[in-house]
């Protein structure tokens, strides 16, 4: 019995799954995470720049909402990101890992730009707008249809497939921007129909982006209702949760996959239309600027709920805008703003761990 006390290494703590938290507590954890992220960002900023963190945050807020122009830009960018997030959501809810939103939006934008260039002076305004809507929806839908068709029939990997489709879309845009470049050979299209504004989404009450924002707001409501209250939305949930259950109750899984991915692609096409016709009035291969991927995060963070997506997309755009301003004011390059955004998003995603799990410390035995 002499070795009674030998080598008892107790683990200091272990991780256990939590039961469901009350709503307010889980949000408190998330808000706490944002606060912690801001502290971490302040530390990084001070270390790298030596500036006063309070001032840094003031700059950040100023960058996002400092002037009326900035507020509009913030809202417009939020609307665009939200629109693409709405587009990817049905597919993701069905566990179809569509990471091709980037390409689908780009194709929608390309179709819009082509219509504006080719028909800008030939068709009347309303007719042109209709043609633009139809072609952009078709372009986005076709771009999503191809991987969905292969997935449904031969079970190809949709993640790789949609990713590759992004590169093809970019090259197509490169090709046409070169072909239609102004001046010839510059590789840039420039502002399309700058004089006639043909095919531009009109300004409402002098606010260039207002109509865009309203359209996205309506889409958000429609998507929320579609997912929650329609039979289609119900089928999407069932297929996403368990294909076996779907088969068991007689859902045609192939049909639901095709239908949902087409919807997703069509919405991406609309997003492309809003980007080209409503915001940029031109197209480059970087028009979408990574939103197709950021949208996935927005959608996940909001747990596929369109109403929460308003919050998450706003938060991310706000951070991006603020971080860009910090970079400019303090003379740092773009990478710095990305570091800041990265830190904050890391904390937000990390907070989900603490919402779902808890850390337990081992209680000491009384009878030793």
């Amino acid at each position: 019995m002499s070795k009674q006390h030998k080598e008892i290494h107790e683990p200091l703590f272990h991780i256990a799954k939590r039961e469901a938290l009350p709503f307010w507590l889980s949000w408190l954890i998330r808000i706490g995470a944002v606060a912690a992220a801001l502290v971490a960002c302040a530390a990084v900023t001070v270390l790298l720049t030596g500036e006063n963190p309070i001032q840094v945050y003031a700059t950040m807020i100023d960058g996002a909402i400092g002037t009326e122009r900035r507020i509009w830009s913030l809202l417009q960018n939020t609307a665009m990101l939200l629109c693409i997030s709405l587009a990817v959501t049905p597919a993701f809810k069905m566990k179809f890992w569509n990471i091709g939103a980037e390409g689908q939006v780009l194709m929608g934008g390309m179709a819009t730009a082509a219509c504006m260039i080719l028909f800008g002076d030939k068709l009347s305004s309303p007719l042109l707008m209709i043609v633009m809507i139809v072609t952009s929806v078709l372009a986005g839908a076709v771009w999503s249809f191809i991987p969905a068709f292969f997935k449904a029939n031969w079970n190809t990997n949709e993640t790789l497939f949609t990713l590759m489709m992004n590169y093809i879309a970019m090259q197509i845009v490169s090709f046409f921007t070169y072909m239609w470049s102004v001046p010839k050979g510059s590789g840039q299209i420039g502002v399309i129909n700058a004089n006639t504004q043909a095919g531009w989404i009109p300004a409402l009450g002098g606010k260039a982006y207002l109509l865009n924002i309203i359209i996205v707001a309506v889409l958000t409501a429609v998507m929320y209702i579609y997912l929650k209250y329609s039979k289609h939305g119900y089928e999407i949930s069932v297929v996403g949760e368990s294909e076996n259950t779907a088969r068991y109750i007689g859902i045609n899984v192939k049909k639901v996959i095709m239908r949902t991915v087409l919807l997703s692609g069509a919405l991406c096409g609309i997003a492309g239309l809003l980007l080209v016709s409503g915001t940029d009035h031109t197209i480059t291969r970087n028009t979408v600027a990574g939103r197709g991927f950021t949208a996935i995060m927005v959608s996940w963070l909001a747990k596929f709920n369109p109403v929460y997506m308003i919050l998450t997309s706003f938060l991310i755009v706000f951070l991006q805008k603020g971080a860009t301003e910090i970079s400019t004011i303090f003379g740092l390059n773009d990478s710095f703003s990305e570091i800041i955004t990265g830190i904050i998003i890391f904390f937000i995603i990390g907070s989900e761990f603490f919402v779902n799990y808890t850390i337990k410390f081992r209680e000491k035995e009384a009878n030793k």
Binding site: E19, N244, Y248
Partner: protein, 512 residues
């Protein structure tokens, strides 16, 4: 030191969130002894054993091995203390041979020496009476052979404290007897053996002592020779209960579902069902017995329209119209459109019958959401149905909007069975409907099936507990390797008879 307990647990507590899986459990196992840990499903038996084998770590409490306190943080630690656990679900690599699986993960000096390992395996087999070919691949093995591999795997590593989690759940009565003989030999060899089970007869015939858990709490340990089935049940459930199933005589049975010569193959071309023919009659319960994976699932799925058949027909005699329809290769929707009222409680409750992340109301809609022309869902009726089932079947849930995955196994099953019965079927198929349920819930399900039978439904019941099959059913069909090896009268057949039929066609494996 000789009388020192091989393993002693003192005040072990483990919680998952607010759920207390084990509370102040203390028990001892001596060398040369078989201890049964008895408890209903969800009483914390497996959690407790997982703490001994290093999968979970206790919140507090102490574990002593040979009188010394130890800390077991990983399965590797458990191996070092010569503890070996044989899990309910085997953890073997299918394409490897028995010997390769047995040495897998061992850190032996030098290269893997097939001959030496095979020799050691042969010695262990001889010593305890196992029957195993070390070169045989796992995918060629029967369930009982796979279990043998798992047991030898822990013996090979020198384990002298063995834990077996529900080892007989997948075995025929004959295989069970064989396993028990081996376990007794190991006990006589001085090993400490813990066996988790909820089958009363096994407890009484095999173990020296019985430790009973109820809802995570340790109720007590009794000597097997001083106890009885009634006493153990009472300790397990906390109250006296009547364990009888009332079986009524079938009233005016008529052929409802006639299955004729159906066969189907899987992707590899292996026959899963081979010329299966039988008739299910109204007002009768037809039991299906067989070793797990003998084709039960494919059979029910063929009838439900989920399995493509290569030959044969499934005829449904419609009691309303008097028409006969062939259901072969029809989709579930087409079957319903024919006016066939077929309900199916599948084996995989949360993966097939229900959607775990949806609430009870939305799960009620699974069968009926298509009704009506509107593009939108109608949640009023499903909600009423959900409330009705919660009330009538005593489903324990915070409300009808709770996701079903949060419910306990028994309550999940009540929701599923409730929904399937609510559509007033003429044929009701249920695969392992009481698997994982506590005794009270199990008897509730048996009663529900009986009531369906009495109202003239043709009930098909796939079960694993032969005692229950014999008590509940009118006739029992035994399936073995996709073939029907016999259909017997449940009122006169014996367990041994069915056990023999269960291994009848298995290609010379199980019945050597």
């Amino acid at each position: 030191m000789g009388t020192q307990a091989a393993i002693e647990l003192r005040n072990i507590t483990k919680t998952f969130g607010s759920v207390i899986a084990n509370k102040d459990v203390s028990l001892t196992v001596n060398r040369g002894e078989i201890l049964s840990v008895l408890g209903e499903n969800g009483s914390g038996k497996t959690t407790l054993m997982n703490m001994i084998s290093g999968i979970y770590f206790p919140d507090h409490g102490q574990i002593f091995i040979d009188g010394k306190e130890v800390v077991i943080r990983s399965p590797r630690d458990a191996f070092d203390y010569k503890i070996g656990m044989i899990h309910q679900h085997f953890k073997l690599v299918d394409v490897f041979s028995a010997a390769e699986n047995i040495v897998l993960g061992l850190e032996e000096e030098g290269k893997f020496n097939v001959k030496q390992s095979a020799e050691k395996i042969r010695k262990i087999s001889e010593q305890y009476g196992f029957d195993l070919d070390p070169k045989k691949k796992i995918y060629e093995m029967s369930v009982s052979e796979k279990q043998t591999v798992e047991i030898i795997k822990v013996l090979y590593r020198g384990a002298d404290i063995l834990i077996l989690d529900e080892p007989t759940a997948v075995l025929t009565p004959q295989e069970t007897q064989k396993l028990f003989a081996i376990l007794r030999r190991m006990r006589d060899d001085g090993k400490a053996i813990i066996i988790i089970t909820h089958k009363m007869q096994e407890v009484l015939s095999l173990s020296n002592r019985v430790a009973v858990l109820r809802k995570g709490e340790y109720i007590g340990t009794v000597e097997t020779k001083d106890t009885s089935e009634a006493q153990l049940t009472e300790m397990m459930v906390g109250q006296k209960i009547d364990l009888n199933i009332e079986r009524t005589e079938p009233k005016d049975p008529q052929a409802r579902l006639e299955v004729k010569d159906i066969s189907c193959v899987n992707r590899e071309g292996i026959k899963l069902l081979d010329n299966v023919s039988f008739t299910a009659r109204s007002g009768e319960i037809l039991g299906i017995a067989g070793i797990a994976g003998s084709g039960q699932r494919e059979l029910l799925e063929s009838i439900a329209g989920l399995q493509h058949l290569n030959q044969g027909e499934i005829l449904y005699h419609n009691p309303k119209t008097g028409k006969t329809d062939n259901l072969r290769d029809k989709t579930p929707i087409q079957i319903r459109d024919l006016g066939v009222r077929l309900s199916f409680v599948p084996e995989d409750r949360l993966g097939m019958g229900l959607v775990g992340n949806m609430d009870i109301v939305d799960n009620m809609m699974l069968r009926s959401y298509r009704r009506g022309k509107s593009a939108f869902l109608e949640r009023k009726k499903p909600k009423d149905l959900a409330r009705k089932i919660i009330e009538e079947l005593n489903v324990v849930t915070p409300g009808e909007n709770t996701p079903v995955r949060r419910l306990s196994g028994g309550n999940v099953q009540k929701v599923l069975v409730g929904r399937e019965i609510a559509s007033s079927p003429t044929v009701l198929m249920a695969a392992y409907p009481v698997r994982g349920l506590d005794i009270n819930s199990s008897y509730m399900i048996y009663n529900l099936l009986n009531r369906q039978k009495e109202s003239g439904v043709a009930v098909i019941f796939v079960g694993e507990d032969l005692d229950v099959l014999l008590e509940l059913c009118d006739s029992i069909m035994v399936i073995s390797s996709g073939r029907i090896s016999g259909i017997v009268d449940a009122r006169t057949a014996t367990k041994e008879e069915i056990g023999l039929l269960m291994t009848k066609n298995s290609g010379g494996e199980g019945n050597e």
